[in-house]
């Protein structure tokens, strides 16, 4: 899907029209669901499908790009693919590697969900790259927070508050993003090892000054998925050519690592990033399986839940297909200081179980008050982050 790039005058018209829509909605005491490509509609808490859609797709375009400032400013409806093409021309990129499900996704959706891909391990999450944004509130007022500079501590960090808020606090219109140069060199190695061992190794490497930029442990197709089966640990190095070479040589001699050619390596990481990897397909054998996303502290050992597993981020991100009940998965994650989100499951399941691990009462209270303060008419994406919010 191509970006519908507007001139500033057209953008102004769109904003005026949208402010009108918000006013009508407010007057009718109704609400709206914000949508870009809709490629992440499966993710998170489902909303009432009858809610009218406020589409950002007409509000697109890269507004400013200055490669020497490492900043790009784009409107919410800009297709990620188009934004990345603009950056690639100048050998720059979004280092956190946001997913493009089905090749789709917009800048607004990327920020609203705050999802990050394999590059998050070393580069940090989406929110670290949102330098500023402009949002429209329920009164149609345009507000700008943050900006285009790396260091900015004036006022509260509203840009990060909106990142990952699933659109419940306002309509994101424009985002300024920090971009990074493509690394001088990249190389991926493959090490055959069982799951438990992969976690220990990854933690060890991350405590050393090594140019590790991503890791993933994937089970061998033939190996039993339970009890920490055999699999492959993939490690991507990125940085100065000399540093990458030195790391690869060390891994070849110390861990029996095999170097992957560039094309299959890139294809592998892209398949994780966009979740086209076979692992993310619903298992045929048991329709009761649901995919859980477990986020756990570093050094967390293998968790005792039966199911197929894929590990990213040095073991801090664990994907798990299981038919176990939500309480079991969540208490296993909580027992190690992490949390579990229901990632792929039916809308019914997501309604019943709640996608996110329930918040503590004090946090829940803060969430309610923030929502009430910033979106008092509950116009934007009601219930999309947490049911009832």
């Amino acid at each position: 899907m191509q970006t519908h790039a507007l001139t500033e005058a057209q953008a102004q018209d769109w904003r005026t029209k949208t402010a009108g829509l918000l006013e009508d909605t407010r007057r009718q005491q109704r609400a709206l669901q914000i949508q870009g490509h809709g490629s992440k509609a499966f993710y998170g808490q489902p909303m009432d499908p009858a809610l009218p859609v406020l589409s950002t797709l007409e509000y697109g375009g890269v507004v400013a790009y200055d490669p020497s400032e490492l900043v790009v400013v784009a409107r919410a409806g800009t297709a990620l693919a188009d934004l990345e093409a603009v950056l690639a021309e100048r050998q720059q990129r979004l280092a956190f590697e946001p997913p493009r499900f089905g090749g789709r996704g917009t800048v607004g959706g990327m920020v609203a969900t705050g999802l990050s891909g394999p590059g998050r391990l070393a580069a940090g999450p989406c929110k670290d790259y949102v330098l500023g944004l402009s949002v429209m509130n329920g009164n149609g007022a345009l507000m700008r927070f943050g900006g285009t500079v790396m260091k900015n501590v004036a006022g509260y960090d509203m840009s990060r508050l909106h990142t990952g808020a699933m659109g419940i606090l306002g309509l994101i219109l424009e985002v300024s993003l920090k971009v990074l140069p493509e690394p001088a060199a990249r190389c991926t190695v493959h090490i055959a090892c069982p799951r438990g061992k992969s976690i220990g190794w990854a933690d060890q490497w991350l405590s050393e000054p090594l140019p590790v930029s991503a890791t993933a442990w994937v089970a061998d197709a033939a190996s039993p998925q339970s009890d920490g089966g055999q699999g492959a640990l993939m490690v991507r190095f990125a940085g100065a050519a000399a540093a990458v070479d030195a790391a690869v040589q060390r891994f070849e001699s110390s861990y029996g690592a095999t170097r992957l050619a560039e094309a299959p390596a890139d294809a592998f990481w892209t398949s994780l990033r966009d979740q086209t990897h076979g692992f993310f397909r619903f298992p045929q054998d048991d329709p009761q399986h649901r995919l859980w996303r477990l986020s756990v502290p570093a050094q967390t050992p293998d968790l005792p839940i039966a199911g197929a597993c894929l590990l990213e981020w040095g073991g801090a991100l664990r994907w798990l297909w299981t038919n176990k009940p939500a309480t079991e998965v969540r208490s296993a994650a909580a027992s190690v200081g992490g949390h579990a989100s229901l990632y792929l499951g039916s809308a019914e399941d997501r309604h019943r179980e709640g996608c996110l691990t329930p918040l503590s009462p004090v946090l829940q209270g803060l969430h309610q008050r923030i929502k009430a303060e910033l979106d008092p008419h509950r116009l934007f994406n009601p219930g999309r982050l947490v049911a009832g919010l």
Binding site: D128, M158, L161, A240
Partner: protein, 508 residues
């Protein structure tokens, strides 16, 4: 640190301290309630021992608080908050008191809650690359404790030997290495804290993310207005095997500014990238004898760190770019001692300024890198306008400026002129598409400038967030976010950033 001239009382004119001194009865009740919960050596009520708390690093603003509490446990912190909530007495959290924007300035009718006695390192977990510490632990103490494991805590504000991690969280402190390693917000996993009502709450987690809104990021840099920090879990990162710094001289400041943009444009992210102009270089050279090029119009310090292979490769690329950008001289540190010597001048810019002038005032704004040259010209013009000298040090890599305006507080009108000079620099930052504070915070000092940077709707959104956390407005009130009334009084219009260039474009 800003000019420590105790005779100033100007700050009182600017501090919207809406509190009244406590009535004798209310003071009695406060003393009784606090004394019932905290041991006597954790409380200060008498004027003389209260004195050290009357200001932070921005010593132009002073207030004597009604009391200071120095709790030793989180439970005691909670008690102090509950008591103050019940009595409707404002609370100002205070770390090491090194802040430069007056964020810890007390209220005459309020309590200062000091974290000075909460200074235990609770855990260093090398394999998990994190440390759990109490808020009063000094920034540098964390890196020292992690050093045996080859790890360190990255943000390194110049006050790192004294400043506390709790204060760093409040201010979202930076440092000379944040271009590559990020600010405080990039290096904190979890914060345990208490709301103004004394309820414990955990922001973030030891995992990479947490469910719900990112309240951790909202808390970091909130200048003690949303919650009181009682425990911080920081990320530790592997210490680079090697660091070397290139010192480059330029015969023109704008060319030096361009070299900064050229480095970044070439895909290089230096571990540190700092700039000093000629007057600043002269001032620090006299102080530390680092061997700086005194003929240069500007000096750039450009650091590379990583494995020896990485550093060699990157230093080579840096030298190439810097030469092409017109550097007149390039020196690469040959040893760790030399690297530290090159840095020593930059790290001592403030005390060096204190030696050549009775007083100085440090400004902290950020602009897009490409406008560094233009900004320097503007500052030169302002020097003439106000008849005051200004020395310039920049965290050039991220466009963060620290112009140091020299003045003499003893001369009538000079401080006022200095403040106007500073305010004009900050307004120019906003106009250039930047911000009024890169790392020192708004505190009291820049409350007025917030009216310039943010529109009324934006300020209302900040006030809304404040209410969500602290409905009664008792936690560090009157700081950071100006009231609408105050902005009207200040009379400066909200400046649309970037209005001079590309007026047809939306910018923020």
């Amino acid at each position: 640190m800003n000019a420590p001239t105790p005779s100033w009382r100007l700050g009182e004119l600017r501090f919207d301290d809406t509190t009244q001194p406590l009535s004798p009865e209310k003071h009695q009740r406060l003393v009784a309630a606090l004394s019932a919960q905290l041991p006597a050596d954790c409380l200060v009520f008498d004027e003389e021992p209260l004195k050290p708390y009357e200001c932070d690093g921005l010593s132009g603003y002073r207030r004597l608080p009604a009391a200071v509490a120095l709790p030793r446990t989180e439970a005691q912190v909670a008690e102090v908050l509950k008591i103050c909530s019940a009595l409707e007495i404002p609370v100002v959290p205070r770390g090491a008191g090194t802040g430069l924007s007056g964020g810890a300035t007390p209220h005459r009718g309020g309590v200062v809650l000091s974290t000075a006695r909460l200074r235990q390192i609770l855990a260093i977990e090398p394999q998990a690359r994190r440390a759990r510490v109490q808020p009063g632990v000094r920034n540098l103490a964390i890196s020292e404790a992690a050093a045996p494991y080859g790890l360190y805590y990255a943000p390194d504000p110049s006050s790192q030997i004294a400043c506390s991690i709790g204060g760093n969280v409040a201010e979202n402190s930076g440092g000379v290495h944040c271009l590559k390693y990020g600010l405080t917000v990039h290096n904190i996993l979890q914060v345990r804290g208490l709301t103004m009502t004394g309820d414990p709450v955990v922001f973030g987690s030891e995992a990479f993310d947490s469910p719900g809104l990112d309240l951790l990021s909202l808390l970091i840099g909130s200048e003690g207005m949303l919650a009181v920090v009682t425990e911080v879990t920081v990320k530790l990162i592997p210490k680079p095997a090697l660091a070397r710094v290139v010192m480059a001289s330029f015969d023109d400041v704008e060319r030096a500014g361009q070299a900064v943009a050229d480095l970044i444009g070439a895909g290089i992210i230096p571990a540190g990238l700092e700039m000093m102009d000629k007057p600043m270089t002269a001032a620090v050279e006299e102080f530390v004898h680092a061997g700086y090029d005194l003929k240069a119009a500007a000096i750039l310090l450009c650091e590379s760190d990583g494995t020896p292979e990485e550093v060699e490769e990157e230093i080579g690329r840096m030298k190439t770019v810097l030469s092409q950008s017109g550097a007149t001289e390039l020196t690469v540190s040959a040893s760790e001692a030399e690297r530290l010597r090159f840095w020593s001048g930059r790290k001592n810019a403030f005390p060096a300024s204190g030696r050549i002038s009775a007083d100085y005032y440090c400004i902290d704004g950020t602009i897009p890198r490409r406008r560094l040259g233009e900004m320097l010209r503007k500052i030169a013009a302002l020097e003439k306008k106000y008849g005051l000298r200004c020395l310039n040090v920049f965290h050039a890599g991220d466009g963060n400026l620290h112009p140091l305006i020299l003045f003499d507080a003893a001369k009538p009108g000079e401080f006022e002129a200095t403040e106007k000079f500073g305010a004009e620099i900050l307004e120019t930052c906003v106009e250039f598409g930047g911000t009024i504070t890169g790392e020192h915070g708004v505190g009291l000092e820049k409350v007025n400038s917030m009216c310039v940077q943010f529109s009324q709707d934006e300020r209302l959104a900040f006030l809304a967030v404040k209410r969500a956390f602290d409905p009664e407005g008792l936690l560090n009130p009157g700081k950071t976010i100006p009231t609408l009334h105050r902005c009207a009084e200040y009379g400066r219009m909200h400046v649309q950033s970037g209005v001079l260039r590309f007026p047809e474009l939306e910018r923020f």
